[in-house]
Amino acid sequence: ARERFLEAFGQIRTYFIEVFRTLFSDEDACDLQLVDPKQPLDSQIHIIAQPKGKKPLSINQLSGGEKSLTATALLFAIFLYKPAPFCIFDEVDAPLDDNNIDKFNRMIKQFSRQSQFVIVTHNKKTMETIDIIYGITMLEQGVSRVIPVDFRSLSMSQ
């Protein structure tokens, strides 16, 4: 079990570095470490993130958006290691600036060829990445309805 965990950990760490560099920039440093390498099955996990030449004392010193993007990179690395058939994002783009939203969405677009993505968002830029949009509304107070808003991929194939 220890071997299996260490092997998974190593692979996830590799994906994490790759995704982090995609979302931030190629020369940015980051790492995923076991706090206690002698006890891999119990050890806490340490995240190191140094975007854009910064040297934060810990991940907590980063900004709201930078922290969010770092955590998302880790979640994504786990997803890449063991892809689930679908992946759901509920407004994870809320703390991100336009530039980061672009990078994030481009990455989703790329991976959407292998997995299905379901994205809940308020952001107009994110909506441009979406193939089919469902609008949820409450025409009658307190009762949710679904309205298909946009069938661009279907209408294009007609």
């Binding site: 955590a71 997803f79 689930a84 058939p85 009762v143």
Partner: protein
């Protein structure tokens, strides 16, 4: 394994039955604050077997049943059906399509079904094991989960990695 449709009735704000179809690629869910978007995500977690009320943003399980509005009475039951296409044979059954259903009655009774046949929650958990899909799935990402990762609350980072390992 591909997500095909979800059907929701009597669950949270879905006083009337709604259904969504999922496509290959990116499906989006949009709408004003409070219209029910996160409730769709909750419905997905719930039908896949979520038992932790905290993950469903509720104090007790009974609270996921539509509790009415000014003009409508509350529902007596919540039900969600989710349909998968068994494309990769990942699901260990002979069917090409698999529908998982869950019902909760206000009396407290619970029902689970696989392709319309009554079963137990653990039959569903067993079916979904190793598919990466399950109530605890790292495939459902929301801001609260991001905060847990950042604060490493209750060693959440390690739990997340263990689940994938």
């Amino acid at each position: 394994m591909k997500l095909k449709t979800i059907e929701i009735k009597g669950f949270k704000s879905f006083g009337d039955k709604v259904s969504l179809q999922f496509i290959d690629g990116v499906t989006g869910i949009v709408g004003p604050n409070g219209c029910g978007k996160s409730n769709v995500v909750d419905a997905l977690r719930w039908v896949l077997g979520e038992q932790k009320t905290r993950m469903l943003r509720s104090e007790k399980m009974e609270n996921v049943i539509f509790n009415g509005s000014k003009k409508r009475r509350q529902a007596s039951m919540a039900e969600v059906h989710i349909c998968f296409e068994n494309t990769t044979g990942l699901l260990p059954v002979e069917y090409r399509e698999v529908t998982i259903s869950r019902r909760l009655y206000r009396t407290g009774e619970s029902e689970y079904m696989l392709n319309g046949v009554n079963c137990r929650l653990r039959d569903i958990s067993t079916l979904l094991m190793n598919t990466g899909v399950g109530s605890d799935s790292y495939a459902i990402m929301e801001l609260r989960m991001i905060e847990d990762i950042l604060s490493d609350k209750d060693n959440s980072r390690r739990l997340l990695l263990e689940e994938a390992a």
